[in-house]
Structure formats: C-alpha cells, structure tokens
C-alpha cells in the first residue's frame, strides 16, 4: 500500500499538473492560433522561443524561472511584497510544469488549426465575419479534439516534470514534492527501493493513460477533419 508521503505526492502531482495545464492552455491556444494563421516578420524567432523548453535542459528553465521570479530579482521582489512569490511553493511547481508543457501543447493545437481547410476562413472573410467570431465559432470548435489532445499531452508532460520543478520549487515534502521528486528522494534513501518502485509505477500510469488519450484524440481529430473536408 502507499504511504502517507506517497499519497500526498500523488495528490500534489495532480494538483500541480492540472493547474499547469489549465493555466497554460489559453495561452497555448492563443499562440498556436497566432502561429498557424499569421505570417509576420520574425515568426521564426517566436517559433524558436516557444520551443526552447523542449530542447534546453529542464534545469536551465528552472534556473531562469528562479532568477526571474525569486525575490532576488526586481520583479520577484515585487511579487514577494505582494505576497505572490511562487518560488519554493506548489504554485512554483505548477509554473515550472506549465512552462515545460507549453511547447508540446502549442505544437499539438497548432497542427489542429493548420489542418482546418482554408476555404472556411475564406468564406468567413467574404461573409465579413469578424476575426474573433471566426476564431470562436469556426476555428475553435473545429480544433477542439486537437486542443483536447494538446491539453492531455501537456498534462502528461506536467505530471512527469522533474528538472525545472526541483530547481525552481525545490523538493519539499508536502509542499512541492511531486511524484517524480518523491521517487528521486526514495531512490536516494537507503532501503527505499520498494517505495521507489511504487512511485515509478505511479508515475507511469497517468503518463501512459495521458499519452494513450492524446493519441486517440489526435486520430479522432484527423478522421473528423477527413470527414469534414
């Protein structure tokens, strides 16, 4: 059976990953739509910037968050004065997880927007339908399976996040110790192999379930787009 610390880590992981996903999702949708539908000078740089967390070591992302948002920086100090400092709190873990999940979400959602037949946008233009209405009434419903798939993928990435979280939010049991961090602690402790195995399995289950769900949604979206066009 799971120990109290493991149950706490499990609960905290879901809380952190769900918060990260829901907070990052609107931004991911907006950026994905912007990149899918707009051509502008410097688009390649924006694209690169969005994808940085995919290619740099997560520790780097955690460190950048730390020096930007911890009270050692001007902005971090202001946040601390307002009582909003996220460093070494579960909210910090959520921010770190959200940042790491963001590019995956954007990629998946952008694909959904790009797959929308261009005729819909053209017809909408000739009908003088406002851009916001086009987005809300046409593009968003068409891309919803892609958005769900991106959200699930982001959740899977967030729940497994380790490097950025430990750097920015630390590994404080009951406060910021998510499943991967608890696994790390168990693996480091003498005689902690059984706990580490249990935690590894616990990490695997939501990750595999999320990946499966994401793939299923992605396939469904492709089938739907094929039927619509």
């Amino acid at each position: 059976m799971l120990s109290a610390v493991e149950i706490e880590a499990l609960g905290l992981s879901f809380k952190v990953a769900l918060t990260a996903t829901f907070v990052a999702l609107p931004f991911a949708i907006a950026v994905a739509y912007w990149l899918a539908r707009t051509e502008f000078r410097g688009k390649i740089f924006v694209d690169t910037l969005v994808h940085i967390p995919l290619v740099v070591p997560p520790v780097v992302v955690g460190y950048v968050l730390l020096i930007s948002l911890a009270p050692t920086s001007g902005f971090g100090l202001w946040l601390a004065e307002m009582g909003l400092s996220p460093a070494f709190k579960w909210q910090g873990a959520a921010i770190a997880s959200g940042v790491m999940a963001f590019p995956l979400m954007v990629r998946s959602i952008r694909q959904a927007f790009e797959a929308e037949a261009k005729e819909y946008a053209e017809v909408a233009e000739t009908l003088s339908i406002a851009r916001w209405t086009q987005f809300r009434r046409i593009s968003l419903p068409l891309a919803y399976t892609g958005i769900l798939s991106g959200a699930v993928l982001g959740f899977a990435r967030a729940i497994g996040e380790f490097g950025a979280t430990i750097t920015f939010a630390a590994n404080i049991p009951g406060l910021t110790q998510t499943l991967p961090l608890a696994l790390y602690s168990a693996a480091q402790a003498p005689g902690g192999e059984a706990a580490a195995t249990r935690l590894a399995l616990l990490c695997l289950i939501p990750a595999l379930a999320s990946l499966f769900a994401s793939e299923w949604l992605f396939r469904r979206a492709r089938r739907q787009q094929g039927a619509d066009q």
């Binding site: 005729e119 017809v123 233009e125 000739t126 009908l127 003088s128 339908i129 009434r137 046409i138 068409l142």
Partner: protein
C-alpha cells in the same frame, strides 16, 4: 462605366509567369464568366473578392471604389461585400445549417424567411452539413452568401460534381435569386450548358484575357466565339411563358408570339428557357397552309450574314424586339431573293425547340 453597369473592372495579375488582364463592365442579372480550365477564372474571382491581394488595377462596385492601385495612396478595400460560393460549399461543419446562414447574415428575420421559402431551404435548417446531399449543400452555401446581402455574388463553378437534375435546380435557383433580389451574379463556369441555362450576359475568358462579351445571344451569334465554346451552329435563346395546352403540346408566349413546343408537363405560367438552333428554322416568304410545321412566326429580315455555302439570316419577330437566327443555303437565299427588310415566316417544328430549363415560380414580392 455605362449607365446600366453596376461594376467596372480592369485588373491585372501574374499568371504562370505572364501578365494577365481582365477589363469589363458588369451588368445586372447573371453574367457567365466562361472559359476552359486554367483560363484565369478562379483567380479573377479571388481578386474581386479580395482573397488574392497581389493584383493591380481598378474595381468599382456600385458607388464603392474597392481597388485602385494607381491612386495615392493605393486603394485596396479588404471588406468588399462581394459574396463567394466555391466548388466546395465549405459549410462550417460544427454548426447547423441555420447557424451557418445566421453567422454572416445581415437580413431581418422576415427577409430570411422569404429567402428560405424561395430557395426551399426551410426544411434543412436544423440539419448538420454532413447530412446534406451535394445539391442541398450548394443550395445552402448560396443562401448563406445571399443572407449577407452582397453587392455582387460570385459563384465559382457551384455545380461541379452534381448530377444533371441537381445542376438544373441550382441553375434555376441562381437565376431566380439574381432576379428577385436584384443582386448581380457572376457565374464562373467552363460548362456551356450552365451559361445557356442561367446567364443573361457572358464573358469569354482565355489566358487571363476577356476575348468576348455581351448578351449570351450576342456571344453565341459570333461564329468565332461560338466555335471557341464548342458550338457547331448559331442559335437563339428565348425565355417563354407557358400560356396553355393544346393537343398534347405546350402553348408558350415569346414576346407576344405564340410558340408550340413539346409538352414536358410544365404548368401553365411556368417560365422556360428555350433554345432553337439556326439550322432548325426554315424561312418562307408567306404563311403556308397544309404543312406539318406548327410554328410560323412572322418577322422581317434584319441581317444577312453570308457564309461559304450557306447564309445566316437574322429575323426580327413582329410585335417584339426578339430576333431569331436561321441558317439556309445560299441556293435557297438566292431562290427567295431575300433582302433586308423583307417579310418572312420562320418555320419551326415544335419538336426542334429544346427546352433547357424551367425556372421556379417567382415570389410576388422581390427580396430586398
């Protein structure tokens, strides 16, 4: 811009590395833009809608200057109020037919009701686009475009992929809407049949150039353009109204003249578009008795266009401004001693008149 024209267009663009230019005035009613595939029809439509931006020239629709690249600063309106229905109806798949139409509609509810009634779309409103047949989807796409009250409606091959019956329905719908709503329609097609069925005027486009323009009859009367359109003989298009039935024949009225045609079950009052080939009309200097030909329409010779071995005679019918074209041999022309202004009777067999299409009954009140 002539007094009648509702749009003046003179636009240039690059097509396959060459420059192309289309200059014409658009008249009310249905204008067919006809040409082979790759002639530049769709590109021109996209330029007029504002979907293709890299074109230069001039486009004035009603009183609005929509494009004038020579102006300082250049004018290129993005919102043009030019409706477009493409080959793919592109109905938004996640909403019902009613929502599809409502999304861009600027019509009042009662105007929409009239539009639905005229187009027969009332029964489709609650359905999702994927449940519609090809013909129903095109119909809805046209209604959706009309509900935005466009100053010009462009239909880019809207009948592609439909069976003949559905194509006729759509063509009849296009014509009805154009005339009841007074919205000018530019019908892009490569099908001669669609031009004959639905259009009042025609523009023949080839390699991005307008090479013939005028009323459909004028374009068909030009031997060169008729040949380009794949027509082997001149002919006349007529709009007739069914006035009664007689001995298994339809009695129709064409500009005050009676024309008997085969009875295809059209109701009295129906409006028909008919086509009579020049080779199917014989001429006689006087009315003949004891002859099987039922239609003997009196007129005067308005033009004699000599060919190599036969002549194309244009006859202006009595009591109307309608003209018919008759192709007779040079020998017959000489034997009759035909001259301009001579009175002749056009002899037309009832079975030789081809009924192209029956237009639906028009609503008593025009759409606004």
């Amino acid at each position: 811009m002539t007094a009648q024209s509702i749009a003046k267009i003179d636009v240039s663009w690059t097509m396959n590395g060459r420059s192309a230019r289309a200059a014409f005035d658009l008249l009310p009613g249905v204008t067919a833009l006809i040409g082979r595939s790759g002639a530049g029809k769709t590109t021109l439509a996209r330029i007029l809608c504002g979907l293709k931006q890299n074109a230069s020239g001039y486009f004035k629709l009603s009183d609005r200057q929509l494009l004038q690249t020579s102006a300082a600063p250049p004018i290129c309106e993005k919102s043009r109020n030019v409706g477009l229905v493409m080959q793919d109806p592109a109905l938004f798949p996640t909403m019902t037919v009613a929502d599809n139409i409502a999304l861009g509609s600027v019509m009042l509810p009662e105007e929409l009701e009239t539009l639905f009634a005229v187009t027969g779309t009332e029964t489709l409103l609650k359905r999702m686009p994927k449940t519609l047949s090809g013909g129903e989807a095109r119909r809805v796409a046209i209604v959706r475009a009309m509900a935005a009250k466009p100053a010009l409606l462009i239909l880019d091959e809207p009948m592609t992929g439909l069976d003949p019956k559905r194509r006729r329905e759509i063509m009849a719908l296009v014509r009805t809407l154009a005339h009841t709503s007074r919205t000018p329609v530019l019908l892009i097609t490569h099908q001669l049949e669609e031009m004959l069925f639905a259009a009042d005027n025609a523009l023949l486009i080839d390699d991005g150039e307008i090479i013939a323009r005028g009323s459909v009859n004028d374009v068909l009367a030009e031997p060169e353009t008729a040949k380009l359109l794949g027509i082997d003989d001149a002919g006349t298009l007529l709009t007739a109204t069914v006035s009664g039935r007689e001995d298994h024949l339809l009695v129709t009225d064409i500009g005050g003249n009676t024309l008997y045609i085969s009875d295809d079950g059209e109701p009295v009052g129906a409006s028909l578009r008919l086509r009579i080939m020049a080779r199917d009309i014989a001429l006689s200097p006087k009315k003949l008795a004891h002859i099987s030909v039922l239609n003997q329409l009196r007129g005067t010779v308005a033009a004699i266009d000599p060919g190599q071995s036969d002549d194309l005679i244009t006859v202006k019918l009595a009591h109307s401004s309608l003209t018919l074209q008759s192709r007779i041999t040079r020998k017959s022309c000489n034997a009759m001693g035909l001259n301009m202004g001579d009175t002749v009777y056009c002899l037309i067999k009832a079975v030789a008149v081809k009924e192209l299409i029956r237009y639906p009954s028009l609503p008593s009140e025009p759409l606004t």
